[in-house]
């Protein structure tokens, strides 16, 4: 399942004013793998994804995608910059464009950025809408959709750019419980088809089934990383253990 290195984050530091939010994060993600990031609120999970998506400037360190640089505090030799659309991101709050139909939400960026013609962009959009189960909703405005449908449309919109890496930041946290499953199902399919994914989530079932590795973050650092079986059953670090027992509602797992 794990191929060669796709994303590498080295000694990433991010500060807001005098607060250090990411404190030297190292992270490797192999092509085709799914990585789930867990950790307490405020530990820097969203910030990490936002730095990788280039939504935030970084203070120090380097982020590379397949040998091209995403962000760096120094000059990185001759390395080329990665194209912005090589990294897709899906947000907790969907962030669809409310004034556009689902179809136009999907086709806007491919037409402007990739230079696709209308027919080609719409064909690609309809294919993807079918994949996420929204074939019937192409002409609908986002406000007419349920949260689960909006989030599936947002995933399809990101996939339109054929990104090499997909970032998911708590994409089911804003959904009613009965709508969570339909979104996770789409993400499972995506992972099975070989998409490289970095997923911040509290859905431990999803992490168990889909993740190649689970990463536990705390206070802006990667504390521990391992395959889900190992990390959930036998966490090595006390902080990981404490977090998991709180999350899973058990006091200690011994």
């Amino acid at each position: 399942m794990t191929g060669e290195l796709l994303l590498s984050v080295r000694q990433l530091v991010k500060r807001y004013g005098s607060t250090t939010v990411l404190d030297g994060v190292d992270l490797d993600v192999a092509a085709g793998s799914a990585l789930v990031i867990i950790g307490p609120s405020g530990s820097g999970k969203s910030t990490l994804l936002r730095c990788i998506a280039r939504l935030e400037p970084i203070a120090a360190g380097t982020i590379m995608l397949d040998g091209k640089f995403v962000a760096s505090s120094e000059r990185v030799g001759q390395a080329q910059a990665v194209a912005a659309h090589d990294i897709g991101m899906v947000f907790q709050s969907f962030n669809l464009f409310p004034h556009l139909t689902v179809l136009d939400n999907l086709t806007l960026a491919p037409r402007r950025v990739l230079g696709l013609g209308r027919a080609e962009a719409e064909a690609r959009a309809r294919d993807l809408l079918a994949v996420v189960g929204l074939a019937e909703k192409a002409e609908a405005y986002p406000a007419k959709l349920s949260g689960g449908q909006q989030q599936r449309a947002a995933i399809a919109r990101a996939l339109m750019m054929r990104p090499r890496l997909m970032l998911f930041d708590e994409v089911t946290s804003a959904l009613d419980p009965e709508l969570v499953g339909e979104v996770l199902k789409v993400m499972r399919t995506l992972s099975r088809e070989g998409m490289t994914m970095l997923v911040v989530t509290h859905e431990m079932g999803f992490a168990r089934d889909v993740a190649d590795d689970v990463v536990f973050m705390d206070h802006g650092r990667v504390v521990e990383r391992g395959p889900p079986d190992q990390l959930f059953a036998a966490p090595q670090e006390p902080r990981t253990r404490a977090f998991l027992s709180r999350l899973l509602g058990r006091d200690g797992d011994e």
Binding site: A84, H85, V113, Y141, M160
Partner: protein, 222 residues
């Protein structure tokens, strides 16, 4: 002065008043177009994040917002020729002054509209690879346009009525023509009543049009 209110005395002057209304209409259209275009540019300059653009725009807006439009009209008519050698007829001076004045108000309305679109919309566009200009054009401005519809309508109506200020420099618009007719007939109340109705006839459709637009927009995205 006649004791009775006799609207009939105005009838022979209706063609004159109609031509004044036509001038008022053109004055309104020209200044609105000038104001909207310049206002949008000023708003974008203020939002550009570049000091070299934002500062001049800010100065312009405050200068034109804080001085009376009547002063600006008179200044453009009498002050421009000796200072710049550019000589404008009353209509031209009034159109220019009103357009430049209302641009400052449009600029603030548009800026507020753009800033009211959530930052998450910029972020969603950025992770799709859309550049700043594409995002502005296709994502932000269409949403801002919906937000500014109501205040824009109010400002347009305010401006169309405000063209009456051009009478001060003798532009042959509705109020100016009315003043002349009133002098000739000694019937200022009747004449001004007709003029008030004419302004209403001109501006009420604008109010209706903006209301219809708002309804259509509300329906489209619901």
């Amino acid at each position: 002065m006649g004791a009775m209110f006799d609207i009939d005395v105005v009838v022979p002057y209706l063609p004159d008043l109609a031509s004044g209304l036509w001038v008022t209409f053109r004055l309104g259209v020209i200044s609105v177009v000038l104001g909207v275009v310049l206002g949008l540019l000023l708003a974008l300059a203020r939002l550009s994040g570049t000091r070299l653009l934002a500062w001049p725009a800010y100065l312009y807006i405050e200068l034109f917002r804080t001085t009376p439009p009547l002063v600006q009209i008179i200044w453009f008519y009498y002050g421009l020729p000796p200072l710049t050698g550019i000589e404008l007829d009353p209509f031209g001076a009034a159109a220019l002054a009103l357009g430049l004045n209302i641009a400052a108000f449009f600029a603030e309305i548009f800026r507020a509209g753009v800033e009211a679109v959530p930052a998450t919309q910029w972020q969603a566009a950025k992770v799709l690879g859309l550049g700043r200009l594409d995002t502005l054009r296709s994502v932000i401005l269409p949403q801002a346009a919906r937000l500014v519809l109501a205040p824009t309508g109010t400002t347009v109506i305010y401006l169309v009525k405000g063209t009456a200020l051009a009478s001060a420099i003798g532009a042959p618009e509705l109020l100016r023509v009315g003043q002349l007719v009133a002098l000739e007939t000694f019937r200022p109340v009747e004449v001004l009543t007709v003029i008030a109705v004419a302004y209403f006839v001109l501006t009420y459709p604008i109010a209706l049009a903006f209301m219809a637009l708002e309804k259509r927009v509300a329906r489209a995205r619901a």
